[in-house]
């Protein structure tokens, strides 16, 4: 296997795996803290049961997230040492802040998970809030470091060396806000819909179950709001990319030729040889509108870039279609829920609705993976946009594919174990939590 491909695949697998745990680690503490807060206010058993049941799942996901995050901090150097040698001093700052945020998160989580009986109830609740806030912050810091790779700033590049380094300017690069917003919302959408989906599925077996019903209600409320906001954030991102990374926009839209106006291409299969998209739906002028807010604006196509500076179109385009498609589906689900649950009290007793929500379970995470594919593959061939190519950054050590095989096997094994573990956790809910046995309504 090609060394560069092996290194990229290993990074993709490690990051794609870690991101699931990171999303859960950002979102679940907030859901738990919300549920515990409801319990503190109402003293209804179901809320404390939920907070406790969720916290057991979170403990597992957080631990795996912590160790797989450590892997990433090493792998950046193991796979792309040249990149880290130059980039470390420039974009290290968000990582140092992330370290702090993660430290606080890990400590607060220890307090939260093991402190149920040892702490004042409100102090315990507060520790949950701290976990959530520091989790979201550490996510934002990491995304800011990634944003720097898309929008490098805070240095001067001369003769293959960086000078005039300004770490603050690097951290607050042009892309950090749009990317951080999009990722944070994505974490909430993916996790909340997955949680709602699992509980909806369990609710189908027993529609009177207060435990699962409350879980779906809380998760859907968070998920619906985030999913509803996500298209807006996506629009901001699109306009931002149109300006900063026109090649990425052209690749994800499979726009081979610069056009004025440019059609929005939905679906289809990009054909690199013929430079066209087969079987696609065209919406006239709509890409011009999405990218520049004007139906007649010119949108730069891939023809403006030399062949060796174009991102792979097929993967980027398809990943983008998946992300946007799921994004709109979840936003629609969230919209339905927000509108109807208020006036229609028995929405969570409707079989069709519960099936619908249950079917959505994995979709948010698929969208997250697709979105990362868009941002990472869409930046190729660059590792630092416009500055350093990925092939020039890769480790000189031959045989990188063996690292890839090893990490793939380990992660596959752990994935299978975690799935089994979660099934067993779910199977014991009724044994441990009184409200899950409660069938009165």
């Amino acid at each position: 296997m090609d060394e560069l491909l092996a290194a990229r695949l290993q990074m993709a697998i490690s990051l794609g795996w870690h991101i699931v745990f990171a999303c859960i680690g950002m979102t679940m503490p907030i859901l738990m803290a919300y549920s515990e807060w409801k319990w503190l206010r109402t003293k209804e058993q179901v809320y404390i049961d939920l907070a406790k049941a969720w916290s057991k799942g979170v403990a597992i996901f957080f631990a795996v997230g912590a160790v797989s995050g450590t892997v990433l901090s090493f792998e950046l150097g193991l796979l792309f040492p040249v990149f880290m040698e130059h980039a470390g001093p420039i974009f290290g700052m968000p990582f140092s802040w992330e370290g702090t945020a993660f430290f606080v998160e890990a400590i607060a989580l220890g307090v939260f998970l093991y402190g149920w009986d040892r702490l004042n109830k409100w102090v315990h609740w507060l520790s949950g809030v701290v976990v959530g806030v520091s989790g979201v912050l550490s996510g934002i810091f990491v995304v800011s470091a990634n944003a720097w790779m898309n929008s490098p700033s805070g240095f001067t590049w001369e003769n293959g060396k960086a000078s005039n380094i300004d770490p603050v300017a690097a951290m607050f690069n042009d892309a950090w806000f749009t990317q951080a917003l999009h990722m944070t919302l994505a974490a909430f959408v993916a996790t909340a819909f997955a949680v709602a989906g699992v509980h909806a599925f369990l609710l189908l077996k027993n529609k009177q179950n207060e435990f699962h019903k409350t879980a779906v209600r809380i998760a859907l409320a968070f998920g619906a709001v985030a999913a509803f906001l996500q298209p807006i954030s996506g629009d901001i991102s699109a306009k931002d990319i149109a300006e900063r990374q026109p090649a990425k926009l052209a690749a994800l839209e499979a726009l081979y030729h610069t056009s004025q106006p440019a059609d929005l291409v939905i679906g289809g299969i990009p054909n690199d040889q013929e430079e066209r998209v087969d079987y696609a739906i065209h919406v006239p002028g709509f890409l011009s509108f999405l990218a520049h807010g004007d139906f007649d604006a010119e949108v730069i196509g891939l023809d403006q870039f030399p062949k060796d500076e174009r991102p792979p179109v097929l993967i980027t385009h398809i990943a983008f279609q998946i992300m946007v498609g799921i994004g709109f589906l979840l936003a629609f689900a969230g919209f339905l829920y927000l509108v109807f649950s208020a006036r229609w009290k028995h929405m969570l007793s409707k079989t069709w609705w519960l099936w619908f929500i249950a079917c959505l379970t994995p979709l948010g995470f698929i969208a997250v993976e697709a979105g990362w594919t868009v941002t990472e593959v869409g930046r190729q061939p660059w590792i630092i946009h416009g500055i350093m190519k990925t092939k020039d950054a890769v480790s000189p050590m031959p045989g990188l594919q063996y690292s890839l095989y090893m990490i793939s096997v380990v992660y596959l094994l752990l994935t299978l174990i975690i799935i089994g573990l979660m099934r067993r956790q779910i199977a014991t809910i009724e044994t441990y939590y009184p409200s899950a046995r409660n069938k009165t309504e």
Partner: protein
């Protein structure tokens, strides 16, 4: 400014050895700790191991931000042992958590335990191997040698292996002593005291062996050691503390024991830092990487220091709170 960052790097390294080392060591010691071992180990490290582990991440971030060439050099030359460490960290953390949280007590429990113990043992060995390779001076990025010369020989040798076993026995020693205070019953305490003595003996033997093997490999650790005042004083104090620790084994007091061993470990690390300073990686061609010739530009170090300062301001009280909540309510005097 550079000095303060170096001090923080050193401190996080010492804390990782003490806290992370105790967590790894707990997995090693569990093998010898009988039926109750698992319960005591789980109870002791479950709330704290993730936080303890962050000291390693902190050290890595300081390295790649502040001393990028050091980070990229060891990433290339020591790819293989570092990869083993990573797999070890993942398997250990995961299997510990799975074992702790899995609801059923069936065959899978035994598998988690095997993975937990094995990775607790292998990871410290490779941590020691990596450090040994950084000291030994066979690392080279000039792409002139064979794969074996470039990527294997720098760490695959007797000295590095001895360093690996030294680390594992040191971690086991730290864990065994820490666990004396975690064991509830007198019979369990006695067991851990016995294990502590064994690991103390092992650590001393491995420590001596490190020097012997170093001489055999023409790496004159012994000379360097005797040329550094700090190393000599540290070493002297470690030796003087050993009978104190031994005395405390027969009159166990959690606080004194833990303090004594923490001081011992800190002194070992200090002595080692003194030999190494300011070199981080010895290279085959003699162009060693030091703090000075690899430091990042001033603006970066400035921001790094700021982040570290604010970070420690938040983390140290939080850590204190964590340990107070989970480690304070045990009997101070274990003889009851």
């Amino acid at each position: 400014m550079l000095q303060i960052i170096i001090i923080i790097l050193g401190v996080s390294f010492i804390l990782y050895t003490l806290l992370g080392g105790a967590d790894f060591g707990a997995g090693i010691v569990e093998t010898f700790a009988g039926k109750k071992g698992e319960k005591i180990v789980s109870k002791a490290i479950a709330p704290v191991w993730e936080a303890n582990h962050v000291w390693l991440i902190l050290a890595i971030v300081i390295l790649f931000t502040g001393f990028p060439l050091v980070y990229s050099t060891i990433s290339v030359a020591l790819h293989i042992p570092l990869m083993v460490i990573l797999i070890g960290i993942v398997l250990r953390g995961s299997s510990f958590t799975f074992r702790h949280y899995d609801v059923a007590n069936d065959k899978s429990h035994a598998y988690y335990t095997i993975f937990f113990k094995a990775s607790s043992f292998i990871t410290p060995i490779f941590l020691g191997i990596t450090l040994g390779a950084m000291m030994l001076g066979d690392i080279s990025l000039e792409n002139t040698g064979s794969f074996y010369q470039q990527y294997i020989r720098p760490w695959y040798n007797l000295f590095c292996l001895t360093m690996g076993f030294f680390s594992a026995s040191l971690f086991g020693y730290i864990a065994a002593v820490f666990l004396i205070g975690e064991a509830g019953y007198l019979i369990e305490q006695k067991r851990y005291i016995r294990i502590s003595k064994i690991f103390l003996f092992l650590t001393i033997s491995m420590g001596v062996l490190v020097f012997v093997v170093a001489e055999l490999q023409q790496h004159h650790l012994f000379n360097e050691f005797f040329q550094s005042g700090i190393s000599l004083v540290s070493f002297g104090l470690v030796v003087l503390l050993t009978p104190v620790v031994y005395y405390l084994f027969s009159h166990p007091n959690t606080v004194y024991l833990r303090a004594a061993i923490s001081v011992q470990v800190t002194l070992i690390m200090l002595g080692w830092f003194a030999i190494q300073f300011p070199i981080l990686v010895y290279e085959r061609n003699g162009n060693h990487l030091t703090f000075y010739n690899t430091q990042a530009p001033t603006a970066t170090l400035h921001q790094l220091l700021l982040a570290l300062f604010v970070g420690l301001l938040l983390v140290i009280p939080a850590f204190y709170f964590l340990f107070k909540v989970f480690k304070d309510n045990k009997g101070q005097n274990v003889n009851h």
